[in-house]
Subunit: 150 residues, 2 copies
């Protein structure tokens, strides 16, 4: 089975997503209609009067796209990504239609689980970018398998 | 315009979502196909062999549903919810088809912004529940308007 193990990650290693994802007006509207039905994401007139001056994507939309970019990269190489938690999530810049998002993962920490010899924890700083500019950052803790118990 | 101001929130106040949202097989598959294409969310045979013993919803799906429940509640009463960041996000229990999710917000902190007299920051502990059991928890920092500058 494909997939990386805890031992395959090095602290400080940076891995970029292979693809980008375009935030189209239709995608922004469809996501917001289902999950974040606020005028700032759906109503051009209200959005124009807001602090953002126009429609912006739901933060949850950009976050979900970031997950897609991470899953479809070789960061985990097909290993299951089992989320434990997230710290330090920051919305840095609004995302708008036409933006093409990429994602980057930096390994902050890789440690075995004390009680469970077959797995460990990886802490990844995940950054979402648009034209090289950071728009979103977060630190994921994920469970990854260990190659063997020691 | 409808909506609450910083002054309308009291520390310790708890507000429950008005609705619930059912995680159906179709919804789980549609979300995962677009945003989290991993076998644990999409392939019953692979999922059956996993630590979860069957298909589970993407964590990002449950998080996005939580946003919907919060927006469509009277927690903010229609005020725009401008996310600044998130801390202490924890995936507590897997979410599966048939689960009916609810959300709850508890006001941890409400403070004016130093430089901007027309707004302030609210820290909300947001908990996602299924049959009264916590499945997901996170602390949101959101920007809310102040009723007037002082």
């Amino acid at each position: 089975m494909a997939g990386k193990f805890l031992e395959d990650f090095e602290v400080g290693e940076v891995i970029d997503s292979l693809e980008e994802y375009e935030m189209t007006p239709d995608r922004i509207a469809a996501f917001a209609t289902e999950f974040d039905p606020q005028p700032i994401h759906l109503d051009p007139a209200v959005a124009a009067e807001s602090m953002f001056g126009g429609i912006i994507a739901s933060g949850w939309h950009s976050l979900s796209v970031t997950m897609r970019l991470m899953v479809r990269s070789n960061i985990f190489d097909g290993a299951p990504v089992v989320g434990v938690g997230i710290q330090n999530l920051r919305y840095l810049k609004p995302v708008r239609a036409g933006d093409r998002l990429r994602a980057r993962g930096e390994v902050l920490e890789a440690r075995p689980s004390g009680p469970q010899p077959d797995r460990g924890y990886l802490v990844l700083r995940v950054t979402t970018l648009r034209d090289g500019e950071d728009v979103l950052t977060q630190d994921w803790t994920v469970l990854v398998p260990r190659r063997r118990a020691r």
